[in-house]
Symmetry: C2
Subunit: 339 residues, 2 copies
């Protein structure tokens, strides 16, 4: 179908008009459909329109439109316990008969006794110890197959959907909206990079090379003539707190202009993002919805959010309140492929 010239001209004029003077049209109403109309959704749209408006004072070229997202509690459910820790629990149980010493040694003791709170209390460091003990000694490709299979089949205890589908629909829409506006969308997570990569394309439309995370040391080995990268029992890097800007620099090499997190582990990433030059946006997801998801912040054993809540207003960070700002938490059905 061909469009008359006046329709094209009208469209172009509409696209280039300032959002402040423009009545909200059907196209804008359709943006971010799972986000409630209000200041949070408006702040996001206003930011995206400002940095993409050619010739405008806040214009940012597409190559520099880097957006970084925490994963646990920001893109998918982290409560009551980090997903990777549940995967590790299953691995510990599988391997326990080969490790009698684990019965009296933390964090393994807590894992085998099913004491989730005690496991969570060991924090990201405890998680990494379990990762080191249970997630090494195989090639990266073998580990990816194992993690991917688990994430696609193991179900969340409350939501009874596979972990790979315990992803927040409003965030899926935000990621797509940003990519439609020529942003590059990255995950920057405290979780293991190799644990997430097998499912990020399907779950979020984010390819493996746009995932930054914690990692174990690895080594190149040749077995039967085939080269492979093998995981070693040693932590190489923890991509949490002040590690996040370091991880961003190592893998991306640019300062983001948008960062989104939900815990104090994301504080430095948001600070780094919002103290650069030019227009920027920091977003904190606040878990306020105990009915539809979980309600937790300052005193939580996972995803603790305290410093961020205290400083969001003075730093100009936007709080996305799940109860107020999200019409729905999950997609209705499984999504097999995302663009």
């Amino acid at each position: 179908m061909r469009y008359p010239m006046f329709v094209l001209v009208a469209s172009i004029l509409t696209l280039h008009a300032g959002s402040g003077t423009r009545p909200i049209g059907a196209a804008e109403k359709a943006l971010l459909p799972s986000w409630t109309a209000g200041p949070t959704r408006s702040a996001i749209i206003e930011f995206v329109e400002a940095v993409t408006r050619e010739g405008g004072p806040d214009y940012v070229p597409p190559a520099e439109r880097i957006a970084t997202f925490d994963n646990d509690g920001t893109l998918w459910v982290e409560y009551p316990i980090y997903t990777q820790l549940l995967f590790a629990v299953d691995r510990v149980k599988e391997l326990a008969s080969q490790h009698p010493e684990w019965k009296s040694q933390q964090p393994f003791k807590a894992v085998l006794e099913g004491d989730r709170k005690a496991v969570a209390a060991t924090g990201m460091k405890g998680l990494m110890e379990i990762v080191v003990a249970t997630h090494s000694g195989m090639s990266e490709e073998a580990f990816a197959a194992q993690a991917g299979e688990w994430l696609r089949t193991k179900r969340h205890p409350r939501f009874q959907r596979p972990f790979a589908e315990c992803v927040y629909q409003p965030m899926i829409e935000l990621l797509s909206y940003l990519r439609e506006n020529e942003f590059s969308t990255y995950i920057v997570s405290g979780g293991g990079v190799s644990f997430m990569r097998p499912i990020t394309q399907t779950a979020y439309g984010i390819p493996p090379e746009q995932v930054v995370g914690s990692r174990v040391a690895t080594e190149y080995q040749v077995k039967d003539g085939k080269g492979m990268v093998v995981r070693l029992p040693k932590i190489d890097f923890i991509d949490d707190k002040a590690g996040k800007p370091v991880g961003i620099q190592t893998l991306i090499g640019r300062r983001p202009i948008l960062a989104c997190g939900n815990s104090d582990g994301d504080f430095e990433m948001l600070e780094y993002t919002t103290t650069g030059n030019g227009r920027c946006l920091g977003i904190l997801i606040h878990h306020t919805d105990g009915d539809r998801e979980f309600a937790y912040d300052r005193e939580s054993h996972v995803g603790k959010l305290s410093r961020g809540l205290d400083q969001a207003a003075t730093r100009g960070w936007v709080i996305a309140d799940m109860k107020r700002d999200w019409k729905r938490i999950f997609a209705e059905k499984s999504r097999k492929v995302l663009q």
Copy 2:
């Protein structure tokens, strides 16, 4: 303009025909214009056509078309001494008055005495020591500004063109050709990632996030309210030899299907690439042209190539012989912007 249906059908049939039975048309003649017609150029084109032919036995989806390129001696001149080492020499001279101990301490002694062979003899390790001593203590952004300025202005002693333009025109064409065929083109270099990133977009059309390299440790710091990533005087990772597959896994998370290097420092990257599943291509640039560039291989103090020459035939790696396969070495003029 609309095309009659028969033209579309004819085009589709042509696109899907095997290259073996098709006469070489104008379009193919225009490919890789700085490469001499012959087995090397044909092997590259045949590979690209095979992995991009939908429905063909060797088809690889665009997302998995990862191509990795060494930098020194593969994309730009590395002879008679690595470019980053020359940058370091200038930095050492600038800082020497603050470091009297350098007069008797290698590799600094050799640098200050102008003994390039002795500097080169300290190898990648020596380079990294100089990097540690002279390239730390500033933010990544400050270092990028410094390195970028130097690369755009300092000239190669023989070619009298800025180092950022001592890039091989046939390789620029190869990178563009691959990207036109929906490959992602990465640099995977023993050189410092932060040294290269400031100029890779302009020099090669490769953005900073697609550069893998050696790195110093970094730390997040806040100065006057501004977050920044600061370079520390400690080597974090050397992206050379067996480090290359590790660097690829860390930053990209996929096994390449094409790898190109020029020295034994690239051996493991080519081995890793060409021992995966499915169709793959390994290319070694052989410096054979002392008239137009430099001739060196087995006994060279930089870019030593011995193991690769011995094993290329049995492994099916293609040798790009600069004298035979390249019509020209450099672009005629400066190129300001590359797509």
